[in-house]
Symmetry: C3
Subunit: 133 residues, 3 copies
């Protein structure tokens, strides 16, 4: 399974929780693991509070301090910051499945982190079933 | 399976390796993967050297430099630092199982990283068996 | 399954994509997940663009800014920087398998990140099969 995400601007956190749960509804796995993987080198997948939008805004604002956009970089395309952030946050995320849905905590949302948008991004969804325990 | 961890202070690394291996002892999986997932937005799961306590102390000390507590944040609850660190370190960790135990290296320990304690934290444990290879 | 990687210097990104795909060729899993796990506390596993070598050079250069080598550290062996970077980037990486190979994007490569080399590093490979979907 896979789906695409259209990101709105250069730096963004796009909540994809509902898209993932919709994909899970088509899977036979009710208890196990869901791996999400984005096939790009200038984006990432993260879990962030999705209730107060100020949390996402603070995180995006802080990215520029962790990895300044105009750092002393050699990569000629002007998006070295995005490559470094993608490696730091990671393109793979594994979340437990319980009762056929992501077993997220109350305040957690799964976000595609865009570091070089706007673009269309792909997310692969792989589900594996656990033994009853 | 799940267990809880009581954290002692605002910033802490709590070694949960023994709790995870105790959970694995109740699983039928002897060879495969163990996913650990903490259902919070101000904590994380990391693997750190657990022999010299100075390593954990250095890591905790450096957190304040990566993401200063009193940064220029909008989130009103005063714990924006904790949210940003949780997204950066990640709430999900997948570790191989060999012979029914975590296949950690000699110096590796699994830690719950607390960024907004003291609190009680939940950790979900999901085990999946691999094909014999 | 496991393999070893010899790293060339103190800080390095070594592309291990071909070694992982060679290991997958010996696995019965054609569709599922591949977990990579390095059993050390001063290295990590990351996915980075592997086409323009300037991207890796920029990332390695930026590491010294994220975690300075001569920070104010207590750990006596002189490699506190490496321990902190290992926890930050992470020693575990899970990648989807499609058609018996890593389902990487066109520009993605799997890298062993060395923070305290040169050394010989071990990587465990665990594959799990997905249900047909």
């Amino acid at each position: 399974m896979q789906f695409t995400v259209t990101t709105p601007q250069r730096l963004a956190l796009v909540d994809i929780t509902d898209q993932v749960n919709a994909a899970l509804a088509r899977s036979a796995v009710k208890d196990g693991l869901c791996n999400l993987f984005t096939t790009h080198t200038t984006a990432a997948l993260v879990i962030v509070e999705n209730w107060d939008p100020d949390v996402a805004a603070d995180l995006l604002h802080h990215l520029e301090k962790l990895v300044p956009r105009d750092g002393d970089f050699r990569h000629a395309e002007g998006n070295a910051q995005a490559h470094i952030l993608s490696a730091l946050y990671g393109v793979s995320l594994t979340v437990p499945i319980r009762d056929g849905q992501l077993a997220l905590g109350r305040w957690q949302g799964v976000m595609l982190a865009e570091f070089d948008g706007p673009r269309e991004r792909h997310v692969l969804v792989t589900t594996l079933g656990a033994l009853p325990s």
